[in-house]
Amino acid sequence: MKRKRFWVINVLLIAIVLLGGCKDEESNGTNEVNEDNRTLTIALGTDMVSFDVHNHNNTSTEAIHINMFNYLVKRNNDTGEIEPDLAENYENVDDLTWEFKLKDGVTFHNGDALTSADVKYSLERVATDTTLLDHANYKTIKEVEVIDDTTFRIHTHEPDPALLNRISRIGSSILPATYIEENGFDHFLANPIGTGAFEFVEWARDDRIVLQAYADYFDGKNEEWDEIVFRIIPENSTRVSELLTGGVDMAVNIPPSDWVRVNENEGTYLAQGISNRTLMIFLRSTEGYPTRDKKVREALDLAIDNQAIVDNILGGAGTPTVTRVGPGDVGHAAHLYDTYNYNPERAKELLAEAGFKDGFEMTLHSPRGRYLQDAEIAEMVAGMFAEIGVTLNIEFMEWSNYLELRNAGENKDAYLLGLGNSMFDAANALDYYRADRFIGQLDYRNDEVEELLVAAEQNMDAEERNEQYIKIQELLAEDVAHLVLHQESINIGVVDRIDYTPTMDEMIYIDSITKK
């Protein structure tokens, strides 16, 4: 009898705990969709790194920052044109000098007006402090000369045709100089203020970042949303479950295995867009490697059916290409995009001509899980190489080991890598083909490409520079320097009440997210 009573008490206790939870949940209302809800919750896969805008080098961190801070100019994601943001207007005074005029009425979140001194502080900080992770992209800036409160000049060491692209991206946000000087940088990191449409409320690491609409934003207060919550949910299946149950309004990086589930679920859809990250297989042109021979490289390229990879592994989301410079980038060669070379018969002939009639064996180093379906893609490429008699041994590696191996030049015949281009300029993308960058690692060299790269780098004639970059891409495609596979897609799960289209730069612009 007593034992029975004991059991009843135990079962009751467990039930109370569980029911207590359910009751609490109901009052929480996380599963209810409220049409008037002015809070937007977005699930990210990784936490923000820091509020130091010049020192994180992390796209998902910048996707948050973009709503709190501004650049001087911004890139229009539809047209690819550079447009004013904090700057009212700008002009190229001479090859080494750019003059900018700031907009009136721009204030930081503490009410201080934005002045040229803030620009000087911010850009000179990232341009001169070598410990900052974004320094390398800004070292072309020599100094910022303050003319008056709203006018200033940027002087560069050498002619820098990519300057406007440079200052419209990660690492060029404008910080409040006076606020930081008065309170110290650590205080700023804990209580960051910017000029953006949303101001800081809270950051609970690995949990959430909360922002609220800034009433005095120079472009007008955001009309749709009062509060933005970025939640950090590292596990893919959990992030998808949160979206399906309405726990979040948007979830980034939906894995291909869940695309159908998100689309078929009542109340959610998959918003897809093209990213400017290109997946490539880099080949060694070092003496002694079969891929030193152009014919072998060409054969490998002809063996790969890029469209089949996109269709079968990426559910059709991706664009085959033979150039890394994508649409929207300065110097994009449209005729080399959305196309690929596939001809296994010709590939076999080329191998025979190169002296590899019976094929050969080569090794590919590949990360696993860093890029969309990277491991599956590597395996499919191995299958395609087998068709022409080439045995591809894949060594999957943990990312940090992979980087170390590459940086030490211990990579074998090939490695798989996906490269983005936040500069949206061919200079950034094509720098990877410069011979002296990869001595002992890739050893690719094409003297004509070298000459054109040097000429274009400081060419202030935009049209001529564009042509030079297109010519470079044609030469690289002809030479099959490396194997270019496809541009990746961006896949974001969204609830039906919201309208959202991903942008190529992988930023999350809150002002582009509207209620239906």
């Binding site: 939870g21 949940e25 820091s50 590292p234 299946s237 149950t245 726990g247 980087l403 983005g420």
Partner: protein, 304 residues
């Protein structure tokens, strides 16, 4: 009292040895710089950053600097967060404690009744079911169990939140996920120690004196079966505080486990060191606490 002071002082050499081992491991694991820069960073950029972060200095110099700052309570700055590492770690403790305690409470609530029951009803169908359930509970990976619980309770039934930390409801699924495996282990332990004690003479004496069976079980037998149970509870709590990596990741629970796993992935030396130190101190204190509880449970045990 002397015993407790002595045990606390022992922490110092233990921490010193642990710090040395962790330092060597992280040092061997490699260079954080390449992970901090973009995928297409040049060799020159990597070299420059390594130089500015002092990573080009020889091992003994780096370790010397590290020990010198650590004894002053400075674990250094996190490469990733650019902030004092110890404060980043300490920020996570409340979440970690909350989850660990909830998991242990759930485990105890399941383990004690089931363990005692299967011992008193040895080889009965109840015993077989409880033993079988314990094996299944122990064998289920947390990763799988967590996702299944989310699918059932959150996606299908919609009664509990999927992830995150906030209300009491947020705690239930991660705590059950963590608690199940521990409960399984505890049930087995309580069952075996109860079986041993129930066959002792003093239990037979108690029974023959006509004391009610529930009183014999819980007052006479169970109290004596508690010592191994306390050991396993202390060990499990320490493990939970340092090692709920998978459960924290599945449920997006912002505890030390998640922090540590990311710090290891990004080779954020200062955070790894600070995490390990904090966890080590907790483990040592938990073991000390277990020793003190032994003394309370069994006055014959002397703390020397």
């Amino acid at each position: 009292m002397n015993y407790i002071v002595r045990r606390i002082l022992q922490i110092i050499p233990v921490l010193f040895i642990i710090s040395f081992i962790v330092f060597i491991l992280v040092f061997i694991a490699g260079d954080p710089v390449a992970l901090m820069l973009p995928d297409d960073a040049t060799q020159e950029e990597i070299e420059q950053l390594r130089e500015s972060l002092g990573l080009n200095e020889p091992f003994y110099a780096q370790y010397g600097n590290y020990v010198f700052s650590t004894v002053q309570g400075d674990f250094g700055e996190s490469f990733r967060y650019g902030q004092d590492a110890l404060s980043v770690v300490l920020e996570r403790l409340p979440a970690t404690f909350e989850l660990a305690i909830a998991a242990i409470v759930i485990a105890i609530m399941i383990a004690i009744p089931f363990g005692v029951w299967s011992a008193t009803k040895q080889n009965s169908s109840i015993d077989l079911i409880a033993t079988g359930a314990a094996v299944v509970g122990k064998a289920m990976p947390n990763f799988w169990l967590g996702i299944m619980l989310i699918l059932f309770f959150s996606v299908m039934l919609g009664v509990l939140p999927v992830s995150g930390r906030g209300s009491f409801a947020h705690l239930i699924l991660p705590a059950v996920t963590l608690g199940t495996g521990i409960a399984a282990e505890m049930t087995r332990l309580i069952r075996s120690s109860m079986l041993e004690i129930l066959n002792q003479d003093y239990i037979r004496t108690a029974k023959s004196k006509g004391i009610k069976s529930l009183q014999v079980i819980y007052k006479h037998a169970f109290r004596n079966a508690l010592i191994p149970f306390v050991t396993i509870t202390a060990l499990q709590t320490s493990t939970l505080i340092g090692g709920a990596l998978i459960t924290e990741t599945v449920f997006a629970w912002p505890g030390i486990g998640q922090l540590l796993i990311q710090a290891v992935n990004t080779r954020d030396m200062a955070i790894v060191q600070a995490c390990v130190m904090v966890i080590a101190v907790i483990v040592i204190l938990m073991n000390l606490l277990a020793d003190i509880i032994y003394r309370i449970l069994d006055p014959r045990i002397k703390l020397k």
